[in-house]
């Protein structure tokens, strides 16, 4: 036993972990060292409960230039260009202080992309909150959106896409995941491995203060109970400095002044320095007295783990330090030599001439403990007896009410708060296509990007749900005309040590891996956020997939109908079910498990069809089912439709059921045969169901006729979100 059990427990370390530290070090750790271990061995930094499971992800492939393990994954996109991208959670800080929590979430992921030497070109996000009838959820939602907008708008990186969902399970554990995508020349890629003993360590950017002390261990790695006490652990963002930092780092990289670059995120300097040292198998000697501070009287431990924002750590050859400082001064940024690279393998920090910490860097990183999680299978889901669900008497009214639900309705009031356009490269804006599309300058090609989740499905059938998230993202890209390249992911889960959460985590990873392998898409980066759980509620398993693809810039396809008389084609089998659907509005039942070969073929079929250049609109069928996809295409295109579909078991299931890997395409009548052939060549079912026409939505489902004026559909869908929380 360590002598002071109270301290390590307060820091979030178990008694076993404290004993292990003493054993590894061969002595009692200093106060600063114990603080450093507590941060680096936290779930947030070490992935100690998820690391073994994450190995299941396929992470290699032809185009992969950098897989998991660096600040971001990097994939080749041709012409000497590569795309760097990653998604990361900032859930716990956002639950405590939504504006700054969400803003600094954006700031952190942007610096991860900068650390690869890449220029950030797009931001996306994935958000979950409790129902908007809850005042607290409304507050978290509106302030988090404002925080994302504030930071992204001010740094000049367009926020081009994302998703927002509402469910009571997020009432006390909201999710704020931010994704950044950057472009880098192959020969301009940076790594975050320190090398070259004698090289200088330079801290660039903001001064170091007491903000965010212990953020990774206190906030991000435990259940939240008493929010107010944790407020000082939330960092405060300064996007103006971030922008200068971005310009400066790109300038430094272009001038070849950097050996390595790393951002300071969770666990601050401790994490940045120990990871750089461990990756490069070198040591670092840091003089804490040299670090510019924002407040006086900070202890060695506080300086080492401060999460003050907008800071980067660079490794620089001594002869280039003067040139580096000159560039930083031009950008009005502090740049301070704080130490040197050594050959000892140890992270040494001194203050006032005294050694405050001396730890082999690998102890903090690679040697962090790894725990298995209990794999307790949840009961198999039981399909809903359709007869137990009342059938709506007025299907048109039901359809309209579904379009107005917060999870379905237009998110325009959200994305209009984001600068979607800065950089003049956004070819498809939010709401106009299955994925956002951002130009790769000078190549004639563009990146298509989407974020997707399917938490209700994952709650009931985590393996099927994990696969379905990947397939939905792939369909969204294929509908836009883009070939999927790779994914990043953020696994948002409850406490893995309780109940079936650990098993669900393993199952979701297995399902995602099956889908990725079948599609030939590697997982190149990711993040895990556990303990999204309070005394009253645990979140549904919420894996968020961020998928990146490639498309010719003149060949993108939107969701909106284009012309009166165009033919509407339903792609995929109508095997939809109301289980776990948005219409049901609850995680109940047994959602159809994706058939891996069938779903894979559907993605290929959609790609082949859109690749013909004849498809005029394409919309993935997912939340809200066929009825919602049809209405959204009509609303986006200002044109109605007249269609006839199979009634299946019941009209409401045919209209609003989900699952089965489906999409709606339109084309000119004369091109219909070619489009059908392209789809059927993949063994995928394609059915002509009607035409684009007029200003009404008319559906014949089996024997039932349903009709909705396009203006009424638009009115419900456009105002649903804002109206749902009007008093």
């Amino acid at each position: 036993m360590t002598t002071d059990a109270a301290i390590h427990r307060k820091l979030g370390l178990t008694d076993d972990e404290a004993d292990r530290i003493v054993e590894m070090m061969g002595r009692e750790p200093s106060e600063a060292e114990l603080l450093m271990f507590s941060l680096m061995w936290s779930e947030h930094c070490s992935y100690k409960h998820s690391r073994p499971l994450l190995r299941a992800f396929p992470s290699t492939g032809d185009g992969v230039l950098q897989g998991p393990g660096e600040n971001a994954g990097v994939v080749d996109v041709g012409d000497g260009w590569a795309v760097a991208f990653k998604i990361e959670s900032h859930n716990h800080p956002s639950a405590v202080e939504p504006f700054q929590g969400a803003a600094t979430g954006v700031g952190g992921i942007v610096r991860d992309i900068m650390a690869m030497g890449a220029r950030p070109v797009a931001l996306l996000n994935s958000l979950r909150f409790g129902e908007l009838t809850s005042p607290r959820s409304r507050y978290l939602f509106t302030r988090a959106v404002e925080g994302i907008g504030h930071y992204g708008n001010c740094i000049g990186v367009p926020t081009v896409g994302g998703e927002v969902g509402f469910d009571d399970c997020y009432e006390e554990s909201c999710l704020v995941n931010a994704m950044c995508v950057g472009l880098v020349r192959h020969d301009g890629m940076l790594r975050a491995a320190a090398s070259g003993p004698g090289n200088a360590l330079v801290l660039i950017g903001n001064r170091t203060g007491r903000d965010g002390i212990g953020g990774a261990s206190i906030l991000a790695s435990a259940e939240l109970d008493d929010d107010e006490d944790k407020r000082p652990s939330v960092q405060v963002g300064d996007p103006f400095t971030e922008r200068k930092l971005m310009d400066c780092c790109l300038d430094l990289a272009a001038r070849g002044l950097l050996v390595a670059l790393q951002d300071l995120g969770a666990a601050g300097l401790t994490s940045a320095a120990s990871e750089m040292a461990a990756r490069g198998e070198v040591g670092l000697d840091i003089d804490l007295d040299l670090i510019p501070l924002r407040e006086q009287g900070m202890s060695a431990g506080e300086i080492l783990v401060s999460e003050s924002q907008e800071r980067m750590l660079a490794v620089v050859e001594p002869s280039r330090v003067a040139a580096l400082v000159e560039v930083c001064t031009h950008w009005q940024l502090d740049a301070t030599v704080i130490g040197t690279v050594t050959d000892t393998g140890s992270f040494v920090a001194r203050m006032g001439g005294r050694v405050e910490a001396d730890i082999p860097a690998a102890f903090l990183t690679d040697d962090a403990p790894v725990y298995g999680v209990p794999l307790v299978a949840a009961p198999a889901p039981v399909a809903i007896d359709l007869a137990s669900l009342p059938e709506p008497t007025d299907l048109a009214a039901a359809w309209r009410s579904l379009l107005a639900r917060p999870n379905i309705a237009s998110k325009r009031s959200v994305y209009e708060q984001y600068d979607q356009l800065v950089g003049a490269g956004t070819l498809r804006r939010p709401g106009s296509a299955g994925a956002a599309v951002v130009r790769i300058p000078g190549t004639g090609r563009a990146l298509a990007i989407t974020t997707d989740g399917a938490e209700r499905h994952c709650q009931l059938d985590p393996r099927g749900g994990g696969a379905s998230v990947v397939f939905e993202a792939a369909r969204n890209l294929a509908c836009t005309g883009a070939r999927p390249l790779a994914i990043t992911n953020c696994l948002n889960f409850a406490n893995p040590e309780k109940g079936s959460t650990g098993w669900r985590l393993a199952e979701v990873i297995a399902g995602m891996s099956e889908a990725c392998t079948a599609l030939g898409i590697p997982v190149v980066s990711g993040n895990v956020s556990l303990y999204n759980e309070s005394v009253t509620r645990a979140i549904h398993p919420t894996p968020v997939v961020g998928m990146v693809g490639l498309v010719d810039e003149t060949a993108t396809v939107g969701i909106g109908f284009q012309e009166d008389g165009d033919v509407i084609i339903h792609v995929g089998s109508p095997a939809a079910r109301l289980d776990a659907s948005e219409w049901l509005g609850d995680a109940r039942g047994a959602p159809p498990r994706p058939d891996i070969p069938v779903e894979t073929a559907t993605v290929r079929a959609l790609l082949q069809a859109t690749g013909l250049g004849l498809v005029r609109s394409a919309h993935d069928i997912s939340a809200g089912g066929f009825g919602v996809a049809l209405a959204e295409s009509a609303i986006a295109g200002y044109l109605g439709a007249h269609v006839e579909v199979d009634g299946g078991r019941r009209a409401d299931e045919a209209l609003f059921g989900e699952g089965g890997g489906r999409a709606l395409l339109t084309c000119r009548p004369r091109d219909c045969r070619d489009v059908l052939d392209a789809i059927e060549a993949n063994g995928t079912v394609a059915t002509v169901i009607g035409t684009v026409t007029g200003d009404r939505l008319q559906i014949r489902v089996g024997e039932t006729n349903i009709e909705l004026a396009l203006a009424d559909a638009r009115e419900a869908w456009s105002n649903g979100l804002d109206r749902s929380w009007a008093p």
């Binding site: 404002e146 907008g149 504030h150 708008n153 001010c154 740094i155 000049g156 300064d238 996007p239 103006f240 400095t241 922008r243 200068k244 950008w331 009005q332 994305y415 209009e416 708060q417 984001y418 600068d419 979607q420 356009l421 800065v422 950089g423 003049a424 490269g425 956004t426 070819l427 804006r429 130009r439 810039e553 003149t554």
Partner: protein, 216 residues
């Protein structure tokens, strides 16, 4: 004016739209380059100036307030005084108002929210160099994206070149989206023409504003 058109695109710390503004300026056939806020002179031969959008100095104090006192502003004032064309876009518009080169001020949007959307505009004054020969009332489609875009002032102090058509997104006086000085050579607008110079981006109507930078 003789000699080639040479357009300086001004960069302040926190300027964001300089690269797209530079590309749009180059596409007019002119030579274009960046000029730095801390310099006291424009590069020799400069015939026109663009102040692009962004958050100069992080919008500290008031949008444009600090940038309007930067060393480069005196050189811009001299060029404008000699009749040279000056175009301020979004934050650049705010800077020009703060510098007194354009009438009025930009106040926070009526909704107190940042707003990014395609805006439909109409030509209010067809006699300036900025609307590519379009007649009064003709439409122009250019996106807006701002938090402080509600122009407030007396429209008769200048020439209202562009007005919002239909719903006024920010609550500006007289639907003002863009206004020029009385001489017509200094122009400021909240919409972003540099993001409307390519039909693939949704509109190419912004080209006219950049052509206004060229000698007649």
């Amino acid at each position: 004016m003789t000699g080639p058109d040479q357009i300086a695109v001004i960069r302040f710390p926190g300027t964001l739209d300089h690269e797209s503004a530079l590309r749009a300026a180059e596409e007019t056939g002119a030579r274009a380059y960046f000029a730095w806020h801390a310099d006291t002179d424009l590069p020799p031969g400069t015939t026109a100036v663009v102040l692009p959008g962004g958050f100069s100095y992080g919008d500290h104090l008031r949008p444009g307030a600090i940038a309007s006192r930067a060393p480069i502003m005196n050189a811009i004032r001299r060029l404008a005084g000699d009749g040279g064309p000056v175009l301020g876009i979004c934050n650049g518009f705010q800077v020009l108002c703060e510098a007194g080169l354009l009438p009025g001020v930009l106040r926070p949007n009526r909704t107190l929210r940042f707003i990014c959307r395609q805006a439909e505009l109409e030509v209010g004054d067809a006699e300036t160099r900025w609307t590519g020969g379009r007649s009064r009332g003709e439409g122009i489609s250019i996106p807006i994206k701002h938090h402080d875009g509600a122009w407030f002032g007396d429209p008769t102090d200048g020439r209202v070149v562009l007005r919002y058509l239909g719903e006024n997104p920010n609550g500006s006086v007289d639907q003002v989206a863009g206004i020029a000085n009385r001489d017509g050579n200094v122009m400021g607008l909240m919409p972003h023409p540099e993001e409307a110079c390519d039909v693939l981006l949704g509109s190419a109507d912004g080209v006219a504003l950049f052509q206004g930078l060229l000698a007649a």
